[in-house]
Symmetry: C2
C-alpha cells in the first residue's frame, strides 16, 4: 500500500495548493494524526446506494453538498472530500418484484437505465469521477485526483432467466454482484425470503450457474442479502474469494443480515472479506415509540415513495419528516455500537478479512455516524485500538482490491 | 414554423453577443440572405452516423473541430455551428451478424453500449446538447441554444428474437427505428440481402409484430435499408406515416437503396417523408480507376477496420489514406447531382414529403458537399429554385416533427 500513500500525499499537496481547504481540517473528534493518516489511505466503501437517487424525477446533483439532517442523503462529492472517501462501489440496486416474464423485463430495463445513470454521472463530471474497471484502476484514479467509481449489482433479479445479461452488465462496467435482495428470487434464498420462502436451500440451479459465470467474467461475488446457506454455497462454489459488501456479525446481535462466527471464519479461510454494515437495526434491537411508528406510517401512506416525488412535493414531504424527527426522535444505534461489531469481527477473522460498507443511502447511518463525513472517526478509533496504518490500508481498500485482483487473475487463467 | 424562426433569431443574437462570430459568416457560395434564412430555420438531419465513432478505442471528441479532408469525419459541434445544423437523429447503428443466439447477444450488448455512449456525449456537454424525446422537444431545445439529440436505430438486429427489447430501447430514448441494414435479418428483407437472400418477401412475421409494437410505443418507423416490398408493407401496416431517413429516388439512378416513384408516391399519400441521402454511389454510377481500387483494397487489408485502431496507428492509416486520395483521386458525385435528385423528388411528392438525411459519417458526402458545413448550400439552392422559407421549414424539420407527433398521438390514442 506504500504506493497509494505516496500518490495520495502528492495529491493532497496539489489539492491544498488549489485552495481546497476542507481537506486540511480534521472532523470533530478526530485527531490531527488520524486525519492525516486517513487522508493518506486509499479509502473505498463497498456499497454506495446513492445511484438509487439518480433516476428520480428530480434527479440528484452529486456535486451539490446535501444535508443529511434535512434529506437523509449521505453521499455526494463535497462530502466525499470532507470525509476523505476516495470512492467505492456504486450500486445498481433493484427492489424485488414478481418472478414473471413481465417482472423480469421491467427490472432488466430499469437496471440498464440505472447503469447508464452511473455512467452519465461520471461523464458529466470527468474531472471529479472516473469509472474503475480493474483492480489497478483504483490507485491510478486516486493518483489523478478523481473519485473512484466501481459499479456493483445488488439483486440480480434483473437477469431474469437469461444469464447472458450478466455478461451485458459486465460490459457496462459491473465488477461485483450479489444474487438477491429482500425476497427470494430465481437465483438464491434471501435472508428476508418473503412470500417465496426459503425455496432453494441456498442457491438455485441458475444461482449455481451464476456463480460460475461471475467467476468466468472476473466479477467478485457478493453474499450480502443471501441466506447463510446461499453464502456458504457461494464460498464453496466460487473459484475466487467472495465478499459480504455490507453485512454484520451475529455475535453481538443475532439478525438474518448478520453472519454467524463459523460462516465468517469459513469465508475468511477462503480469502473472503466482510465489509461492515452500519444499518442500525442489524447492530442493535431498536424499539421506537408508538408515536413515532404511527407518525412514520402515516407519512409513508400520505406520500408514497419519496424517490418518486418531484422537487416541490419532496420538500413538503421533508418538512413533515423533519417535524416527526424533532417531535418523536428516532432511537438510533451509535457509532460505538458499530465499532464494537467492527472490533469483534476484526478479532474474529483478522485485518485481512474486514472492511467498511456502511450501506450509505441504503439504510446505514448511526448516531455520531450520520453520513460519510464521519468516516475518519473509524480510522481514529482503530488507531486508538492499536491498529496500524498498514492494517487500516487493508481494511479501507486493500482487501477488496485483492478480491478484484483474484477475480481478474482467475478470468485470465481460463484463456 | 414561425415560432422556431423567432426563437432562432433570438438565439443568433445571443450567440453573436457571446462572440461566436462563425454564425455571422455565410459559407462560400451561399448568399447572405440564404445564410440568414438557414439560420432562422430549425434544421434536423434524420441520420447522423457519428455515434459509430464514440465507442472506438480512441473515442471521438464531439467538441473538437475535425477536418474531413484529413479523417473523413463529417459531424462535430463546431461544424454544426458552422453549418447551421441544429440537431438530428443520432444513430445506434449495428452491422449485421449471424442470426444465432450468440450473434443476438453480442449485438444486443453492443447496441446498449452505443445508446449509453450517446447519452454520455450529452451528459458530458450539458450546455451544448440535450436529449430530445418528444416532437415538441426540438423547438424547446433549439430555443435554449443547445443542439438537439434524438436517437434512432439503424438495424434492429439487436432485438434478437425478443421484441421486448424494442421497449428497452424506447426507454433509452429511441424515437425512430428501422428493421434492417445490409443483410436480410430476422425482421425484414434488406435492399442488400446478402447470403440470407430475399427470405421474407418483405417483412418477416416478427417484422410485422415489430411495426405494431413501434406504433404502440410511439416510434417512427424507418424504411431505409428495407427492401421495396418491406417498405410497402410498412406503409400498409403502420398506423402512422413512415420515414425513409436516408434514401434516394430511382428515377435518375436506379439503385436498390433508391425507391421507385410509385413507392414514394404511395408513402407520401399516407403522409410519409423521404430524407434524401447524399451517398455518391446511390446517386450516380461512379467507376473508380483500377489503381485506386487496388490501393484501397490493399489499405483495408493492411489496416482492417480503422474504427478499431488506436490513435497512433490511426494517424498512420490516415497518412496512407490521404496519400492514396492525392495520387488516385476518388471519382465523386457532386452536390449538383444530389440537388437534381432532391429537386426531382420534391416535384414528385411535394415539399411536405421531402427532407434531408445525407448519411453523414455513414458514407454520405459529395464534391462540394463534404461535411455538414456545406448544408447551407441546400438552402441557398432551393431558394434560387423558388422554394419559400416556409417550404424549407418543412423540409428541414417540420415534416419529421410531424411524423414524431403522429407517432405520439397514436400512442396516446391507445390509452
Amino acid at each position: 500500500m506504500a504506493n497509494f500513500s505516496r500518490l495520495k500525499l502528492a495529491l493532497i499537496g496539489a489539492t491544498a495548493l488549489a485552495g481546497c481547504s476542507t481537506m486540511a481540517t480534521a472532523p470533530a473528534g478526530v485527531s490531527a494524526e488520524a486525519w492525516a493518516i486517513h487522508n493518506r489511505l486509499l479509502t473505498l466503501d463497498t456499497h454506495l446506494d446513492t445511484p438509487a437517487f439518480f433516476d428520480t424525477v428530480r434527479g440528484y446533483d452529486i456535486m451539490e453538498r446535501h444535508d443529511v439532517e434535512r434529506d437523509g442523503s449521505q453521499v455526494d462529492y463535497p462530502r466525499m472530500v470532507e470525509g476523505g472517501l476516495d470512492g467505492g462501489f456504486w450500486v445498481i440496486y433493484m427492489g424485488q418484484g414478481p418472478l414473471t416474464p413481465e417482472g423480469y423485463r421491467d427490472v432488466r430495463d430499469a437496471a440498464l437505465i440505472r447503469a447508464m445513470s452511473i455512467h452519465k454521472m461520471v461523464a458529466a463530471n470527468p474531472d471529479k469521477f472516473e469509472l474503475a474497471l480493474t483492480s489497478s484502476d483504483a490507485a491510478r484514479i486516486n493518483a489523478s485526483g478523481k473519485k473512484i467509481v466501481y459499479i456493483s449489482i445488488e439483486n440480480s433479479y434483473e437477469l431474469g432467466e437469461d444469464l447472458s445479461l450478466l455478461d451485458t452488465f459486465y460490459k457496462l462496467g459491473v465488477r461485483m454482484a450479489g444474487p438477491v435482495h429482500n425476497g427470494t428470487n430465481q437465483l438464491a434464498d434471501s435472508t428476508n425470503p418473503g412470500a417465496v420462502g426459503m425455496k432453494w436451500g441456498g442457491l438455485s440451479p441458475m444461482g449455481r450457474d451464476y456463480v460460475k459465470r461471475a467467476n468466468e467474467l472476473g466479477i467478485v461475488l457478493d453474499g450480502s442479502h443471501s441466506s447463510d446457506a446461499a453464502i456458504e454455497q457461494m464460498i464453496d462454489l466460487s473459484a475466487t474469494p467472495i465478499i459480504l459488501s455490507h453485512h454484520g456479525a451475529d455475535h453481538l446481535n443475532e439478525h438474518p443480515r448478520n453472519a454467524p462466527d463459523a460462516l465468517l471464519k469459513k469465508m475468511a479461510a477462503k480469502g473472503g472479506v466482510i465489509h461492515m454494515n452500519a444499518l442500525g437495526s442489524f447492530i442493535k434491537t431498536l424499539p421506537q415509540t408508538k408515536e413515532r411508528t404511527d407518525a412514520m406510517t402515516a407519512l409513508r401512506t400520505k406520500w408514497g415513495n419519496p424517490n418518486q416525488l418531484e422537487s416541490t412535493r419532496y420538500e413538503l414531504y421533508l418538512d413533515e419528516l423533519n417535524a416527526i424527527d424533532r417531535q418523536f426522535p428516532e432511537n438510533r444505534a451509535t457509532l460505538e455500537d458499530y465499532m464494537q461489531q467492527v472490533l469483534y469481527t476484526i478479532k474474529l477473522v483478522g485485518v485481512d478479512h474486514v472492511g467498511f460498507g456502511a450501506d450509505w443511502d441504503g439504510g446505514g447511518g448511526l448516531d455520531g455516524f450520520r453520513d460519510i463525513t464521519a468516516l475518519p472517526k473509524i480510522t481514529d478509533r482503530l488507531l486508538k485500538e492499536g491498529y496500524t496504518e498498514a492494517d487500516l490500508a487493508k481494511m479501507w481498500s486493500g482487501n477488496v482490491i485483492r478480491l478484484l485482483k483474484a477475480a481478474e487473475d482467475y478470468k485470465a487463467s481460463l484463456k
